[in-house]
Symmetry: C2
DNA sequence: ATTTATGCAAATCGTTTGCAAACCT
DNA sequence: AGGTTTGCAAACGATTTGCATAAAT
């Protein structure tokens, strides 16, 4: 992870009266290195901090807008760095076999269409859209060849 | 709910060696009447059956392709009738205040673009998309006027 | 020195499961 | 009767929390 990213995060935490501790740095490093949303278990494994600390820090980072919670299809919550930190607006490929979540992007045209759909909803209902979520559900290459969904959350 | 719908569901259950019991009928009726995804608690409240039976029947109906599990942003699972039973392809408005999920539709043009994005992913990666999920996250009219997210899952 | 973060173990809570009674065919 | 579904209460498991210690400022 770049020093610049670290600086931005540090500032964002300080603005919320939070410290950028070594544990939180480890956690951010794990998410950065992964390049895909990680489960709490994966974060714990990679970051080397206690489970409770991982959850607590993820909550802090989420509140400060550093980390985002990602909804998959299984029972595990997943976490990734906020998009405005990575400058990489993306969507998710969700494997219905193993639950793994990976990133993908769509054309600017499609993004614009999505934005316009949001505007339409905003003006035709009382709902005030904030952001959108576009996921593709299917089977990843591994689960397709392996036959079925035997997990590997390591 | 229409007799035709009941017929279809009955058939679909029978094909999986499952019965269309009164409890399951009540559950389907509750989902039909609601017209939006319901939490397990809401289903229990409306269907008048025990919690464990509700969960068990929802699982059976999900396996048989009658009911679909919907991911929101809160800790509650939500359920709705499968789209091919309602002939109503739709997406979800998810309120980040109260968690409530409602339906909305987009233009056929946008749907086609989404389909084409799926095809692109399919051919450029090993991932085999099955369906897509487009959600708009924001605040519902009630939560916007009420100020903030005080729950009402009744 | 005082406040905040950590790790452990216990608690929480939506969901799942074992089991005996009620139900359907 | 034979197999399935139901409701109750107990079990489960991911996540959260209480509390005493360690770290940061």
């Amino acid at each position: 992870m770049s020093d610049e990213l670290d600086q931005t995060i540090s500032t964002r935490l300080r603005e919320a009266d939070q410290r950028y501790t070594s544990g939180r740095r480890a956690l951010v490093a794990a998410l950065t290195a992964a390049g895909r949303p990680l489960t709490a278990a994966e974060v714990v494994g990679a970051g080397g901090l206690a489970q409770s600390s991982a959850y607590r820090n993820l909550a802090v980072l989420e509140t400060c807008g550093v980390v985002l919670r990602v909804a998959g299809t299984d029972e595990f919550a997943r976490f990734e760095l906020a998009e405005d930190l990575t400058d990489h607006h993306h969507h998710h490929l969700i494997c219905t076999g193993c639950g793994r979540v990976t990133d993908f992007t769509v054309s600017d045209d499609l993004e614009r269409s999505l934005e316009s759909a949001m505007d339409t909803v905003a003006s035709s209902t009382g709902f005030a859209p904030d952001h959108h979520r576009l996921d593709l559900l299917g089977r990843c290459a591994t689960c397709r060849t392996t036959g079925d969904g035997s997990e590997d959350r390591s």
